[in-house]
């Protein structure tokens, strides 16, 4: 399991995570699904969780519906969801695990004192346990 993440996409996620600190941010990413998943596009969405957003996020079902349609229309795959962990490690919580969907990659960005520090990615296995997915970071291609 490997996720290829370019500098630009990663920056978009990190900036979003920092901007929403001390709340959790969330969003989608799209690209090419395969043994190596290649992230091509990032789409921040609003954290729709009512109440304390410092420890929880929720995506509006309509945003999800739009995301799937966007992927269909553009011939790309909705690869997964990213979110931030303000002042916590970039590891899935038990709550993350319980509500996670199979197949998706879950990118978690740890934000310490407002600064995005560590980015890791996770995927559920057949036993519904998270396994880390290695991230290969690539530079922006300049043409």
């Amino acid at each position: 399991m490997k996720l290829i993440l370019n500098e630009s996409s990663h920056k978009t996620m990190r900036n979003h995570a920092q901007a929403d600190y001390p709340n959790e941010c969330c969003g989608f990413f799209y690209g090419d699904a395969g043994d190596r998943r290649i992230v091509q596009e990032v789409q921040p969405v609003h954290n729709a969780k009512e109440g304390d957003q410092r420890r929880r996020f929720q995506i509006d079902p309509k945003d999800y519906q739009k995301a799937e349609k966007y992927a269909l229309e553009h011939g790309i795959d909705l690869l997964g969801v990213y979110h931030s962990h303000p002042d916590h490690p970039a590891e899935p919580s038990e709550h993350d695990r319980k509500v996670a969907m199979p197949w998706f990659s879950y990118i978690i960005i740890s934000v310490q004192d407002g600064k995005a520090e560590v980015t890791r990615s996770w995927r559920l296995n057949e036993q519904r346990q998270f396994e880390e997915e290695s991230i290969e970071q690539t530079e922006i291609r300049r043409t």
Partner: protein, 90 residues
Amino acid sequence: MAKVIIPTPLRKYTNQHRTFDTQADNLSDALQAFVDEYPDVEENLLDDNGNIRSYIKLYIGDEKVSPNENGTIAIDNDTEVSIVPAIAGG
């Protein structure tokens, strides 16, 4: 022909197909046809009582619909049904 948009996490059970077309004229029959076509979808879509799982929402266009609560829901050739899993975490 009504169309069901298959959410990405379920596509491993649908031979990677992204949509499912059906001639059914109501939502329950459309879902049954979908499950009949791809039996592995069933346990991820329906609970033990055959109802849609609590973390899955169904939309027709922009409108949330629930055959569990609303009974028979008519669909026609232009209907687009979205299966929307709840996405959340902490």
